[in-house]
């Protein structure tokens, strides 16, 4: 094999680009040309390294050498020293934040990567439609251990010791849940997997089911063994056709291989799994509603207690866990409770998958240890805010969560900290907002969702949320008063305090947290009748600055309603009573003469 050619990889992530990354590439190319190496040594752009605070990043292959904070001026030294003479440029090497020891290669750096993939361990690695791929990657190994070496109480002990908490939103200790289900003796028990992922923008459960369905099946069997159940049900939304197909094929293959059904692995333990479909009602993610839906009843929650662990599906003890929770089980068995408990914070162990969305560069799924800060998630893994805009807020916990602000950026993310900050972990949706987002509108947007998705059973959720939404609408139209803000707060608190299930108990969170963290923005809407972010159409007016207007008539021609008048080469005027605020004129104007007020 010929000796590997030298190659230079420059981070092409948005953040590095913004930091003169392009100039670094240009200079490196110039330096190579100067040394007539341009044909021998390739320079390519890569995606984001996730080291955005250290950018621009340059990596030299072979050898995996990583240089950080490279300026265009450093190009000369990199080429003349490293490329020409094979000597590393010490001062540009990545320093271990603690030891200040320079780390030379990417491999060493890997241990400092922010992400740890536990739930997603096999996603993107195995062929989900081939059970042998899963088996090759330790699939069903934990099950074999459990069935041959552990008693149900041992399994429960391990899960309890691991500190695993429910990933679906509640954060209830999983081991404790199993223990309660185990202690409720019954001739029939059920293990239910909640795959009714409903938070807008969240898709970690879908990803797990599509990428590694066996992780969930295996964990459900383990759970069945631990609580002494022999039937499993997966409640999955019918809107996930691919996940359903892969799950079905995985179940069939597991049955064919004797990993589901009678006498699993010759140990005498029986367990089988069926699929139940949800029709996309958000509230069916609530476990009592989910169980009613599976029973063929109207998907609406009932008062707890009785908890499903006492009286669940068909009145039998039922353990309901979320997909991601199940996906963490086998590694805990194989690597031990202590290993899992070693990751994360005091009360939130392990990792959490987040779905990054909104005004963030690297939209997608990430799995990070509990205790990571919002800053690390957004600015390092997420590649920062799009178009270099200013970070304003991050909504965690989906429509039930709250907005975190700049002051929360260095808060370690875990169940309890998020709750204390007025938000929640939820299922792991993380929507990033920038300076252009109006927080009143954001609250309204989430309320819109909960108003639609309330089951309607209890009055505070059914009517209260609607009233909240109406009042927010009123405020975004500039018709609100200061007294309305107090009313907004009182209604929110009462809805939280009196609603039947988690949906209503959390739905006012977006209102309360924006009201707390962005009170000035609300006040601007009601007192000044202005939307500081310029989002609320009713509160803005397009205006032509005469001094800048050259009278090109472009704006008048593009205006769809004829609201702009003016002679050629004379300053134009917008008639606000006709203007529909579509913004077409502003986009067209080449002279920055049109502004929003």
């Amino acid at each position: 094999m010929p000796r590997e050619k030298m190659q230079i990889i420059v981070c092409g992530g948005t953040s590095c680009n913004g930091n003169n990354g392009e100039a670094v590439i240009d200079n490196i190319r110039l330096e190579l040309e100067a040394n007539a190496l341009e044909n021998d040594i390739r320079v390519v752009r890569s995606g984001c390294f996730g080291l955005c605070t250290m950018g621009p990043i340059v990596k030299i292959m072979p050898g995996d050498t990583i240089y950080t904070k490279v300026t265009p001026d450093d190009a000369h030294e990199i080429v003349s020293e490293h490329i020409m003479k094979g000597r590393k440029v010490e001062r540009l090497l990545y320093k271990d934040p603690e030891g200040k020891k320079p780390l030379t290669t990417e491999k060493e750096l890997t241990s400092h990567k922010k992400q740890i993939r536990i739930a997603l361990r096999n996603c993107g690695i195995i062929n989900p439609e081939n059970i042998e791929d899963a088996i090759a990657h330790k699939g069903y190994e934990a099950l074999a251990t459990v069935l041959t070496e552990l008693k149900p109480q041992d399994v429960i002990r391990i899960i309890k010791d691991s500190g695993l908490r429910g990933r679906g939103g509640g954060g209830f200790p999983t081991g404790l849940k199993w223990e309660i289900a185990y202690k409720n003796k019954s001739d029939e028990k059920y293990v239910v997997c909640n795959a009714d992922e409903g938070d807008p923008g969240a898709f970690m459960d879908r990803s797990v089911l599509e990428g590694d369905p066996h992780a969930v099946l295996e964990a459900m069997i383990i759970c069945g063994y631990a609580i002494e159940a022999h039937n499993g049900l997966i409640y999955i939304r019918a809107e996930y056709p691919l996940a359903v197909a892969r799950l079905k094929s995985a179940i069939q293959q597991a049955r064919d291989y004797g990993l589901l059904g009678k006498d699993i692995l010759g140990t005498g333990f029986d367990f089988d799994i069926d699929i139940r479909y949800g029709a996309g009602a958000f509230v069916c993610g609530e476990e009592t509603a989910l169980i009613h839906s599976m029973e063929g009843l109207r998907g609406e929650p009932t008062v707890k207690p009785p908890f499903p662990a006492e009286s669940g599906f068909r009145g039998k003890p039922t353990n309901v866990n979320n997909v991601e929770t199940f996906a963490c089980i086998s590694p805990i068995i194989l690597k031990g409770a202590a290993w899992f408990a070693g990751i994360g914070t005091e009360k939130s162990k392990g990792t959490k998958v987040f779905a990054l969305a909104g005004k963030i560069n690297n939209v997608g799924l990430i799995e990070v240890p509990m205790g990571i800060t919002l800053r690390e998630v957004i600015f390092e893994i997420g590649g920062g805010i799009r178009k270099g805009k200013k970070f304003k807020a991050a909504q965690t916990g989906g429509p039930s969560g709250g907005c975190l602000t700049e002051k929360h950026l260095d808060l370690p993310i875990d169940f309890d900290n998020l709750t204390a900050a007025g938000s929640m972990m939820g299922s792991g949706g993380l929507i990033v907002m920038d300076e252009d987002d109006c927080m009143v509108s954001v609250a309204k947007f989430f309320l819109d969702f909960t108003v639609e998705e309330s089951c309607g059973k209890c009055s505070p959720c059914r009517i209260g949320n609607k009233r909240l939404h109406e009042l927010l609408e009123h405020i975004t139209k500039g018709k609100g008063t200061l007294a309305d803000l107090d009313r907004l707060k009182n209604m929110s608190l009462v809805i939280k305090d009196t609603s039947l299930c988690g949906l209503g108990q959390s739905s006012p969170n977006p209102v309360l947290s924006t009201l707390t963290n962005f009170r000035d923005e609300y006040e601007a809407h009601v007192t000044l009748k202005k939307c500081p972010a310029g989002k609320c159409k009713d509160l803005m007016e397009y205006f032509i600055i005469s001094a800048n207007c050259v009278g090109c008539t472009a704006c008048a021609r593009v205006c769809p309603v004829g609201a702009i008048t003016g002679e050629r080469k004379e300053p134009h005027l917008i008639n606000p009573s006709i203007c529909i605020k579509c913004g077409a004129c502003m986009e067209k104007c080449k002279f920055d003469a049109i502004i929003i007020q």
């Binding site: 009602a281 509230v283 109207r298 609406e300 009932t302 008062v303 207690p305 108003v451 639609e452 998705e453 309330s454 089951c455 309607g456 059973k457 209890c458 009055s459 505070p460 059914r462 009517i463 209260g464 949320n465 609607k466 009233r467 109406e470 009042l471 609408e473 009123h474 009313r487 009182n490 209604m491 009462v494 939280k496 305090d497 009196t498 609603s499 039947l500 108990q505």
Partner: protein
Amino acid sequence: MEMETIKLTIDNKTVEVPKGTTINKAAKELGIDIPVLCYMELKDLCIENKPAGCRICVVEVQGRRNLAPSCATKCEEGMVVKTHTTRVLNARRTVMEFILSDHPKECLICAKSGNCELQSMAHQLGIKEIPGQEIAAMSTYKKDTSPSIIRDQDKCILCRRCEMMCNEVQTVGALSAVNRGFMATVAPAFEQNLEHSTCTYCGQCVAVCPTGALTEVDNTPDVLRALADPSKTVIVQTAPAVRAALGEMFGMEPGTLVTGKMVTALRALGFDYVFDTDFAADLTIMEEGTELLDRLTRHLNGDKTARLPILTSCCPGWVNFFEEYFPDLKDVPSTAKSPQQMFGAIAKTYFADKIKIDRKDLVVVSIMPCLAKKYECQRDEFSVDGNRDVDFSISTRELASFIKQANLDLNNLEEGEFDAPLGESTGAGVIFGATGGVIEAAVRTAYELHTAKKLDRLDFTELRGLEGVRSATIDFNGLPINIGIAHGLGNARKLLNDVRAGKSLFHAIEVMACPGGCIGGGGQPLHHGNSEIIKARAAAIYREDKQKPLRKSHENPFIIKLYEEFLGKPNSEKAHHLLHTHYFDKKKKIIVKQ
């Protein structure tokens, strides 16, 4: 076994209650009445509605994050509960404002005005304005009118009592929650009209509705029109259960009998003759009792076409129920018409002849504790050339309203007497109003007809009571007759399933659709969840029976005379023509409208 108890503190007072008791009930022990709206319990009938949906009854529980619905939260040892802290009061008021903000403010002209639990609650909580009403959207739905029941879901507060009654108690399944969120409401499947649903018009949904969302069709204007028409002779019949409940609407104690005052009121309202459905009940016993004995004899003689058990057929809700759910068994019930319809048939033949008028000029009005009677009198088979045997049926509640409209004070009216000949009845006719009464009346007559012996006791207490399904064996002089009784259609369904499976050991079964029988009918004054009222009405009915000089239908002299003068004998051809009917397969095919 000693019952496990729990000690807790409510509003600084300690109380000890059995394990499993809810906060609400524990508070009651202390005399603390926590306001409830959706919650309803008919204790003696074992009916409880506990969706914990309205959230009015919330209380503060020390150490709990949010407020607890007292109707559905069980007491725990050492619990500290506060029922009226500022947090609770503010929450209750705000939730009430939410509910009212989505409720029409037309109390002045609402059928439930003055008798509405929502109105009372708004009053109790001192709600005088609804903040934000001007920007609040209202959820509105199409109105639905059937022969018996009017649905106006704009006024629904989702207490789900009707749904519980319709599904759990009656197992009719006509009503359930539909839609989501703000537009959630209770309706027949696909939001069809009640007429196209499996509704039996039993009216139990109306009986429990706290607001004006479910009300009866008001036929008093029709009656008023007839009374005002000089060309019409208008006669009225009153069902047994009415006299035991009407007084409640005039401030009298539940269980007050107002038979005589009611007669006077009806006469004062302008009815030409005031008759008694009890007369027709005696007639029903003659026909149904004879049919029972006939089938029984044939059956004992090995006639395979004689099907047993015989089922009573007085209750129109029940008839609708088996026509819908058990059409395969439609030859099992007695073919005898209900007393209401027997009365109509006799009135428009025998009585019309007697007073020499054409049936078209005779208007028959019935006062019923029932809403299904409105539908029953409109059935095609109960009219002749388009002229109904019973023209209009109005409920006890409508009669009370009618009496009030005429500014009559029932309390101060003289005791009147029913007119002859259709006003005379025995105690057997009276007890038709309570569960077990029809079969008891039938036993009194059938026994004597079958054995030709005189009964030495008339009170068959083993047939009385409020248990949902009851059974007893009556010795017919050596022949044991097995009797089953069910009230509430869900209970009836259990007995019917046995009949269908050929497992029923009964010779005769009495069914009444409403819990408690007619005294708990859908047209009665509202019990507002107090089952003591139903018990008091039953006691009143049996009291009236006891006071009657004659207590066996076959001893009613006017019945004897009716057979002599007109019908011949029970189950004669003429009797069959006028007093018997047949049933239909009315199983609904689900039609989804586009």
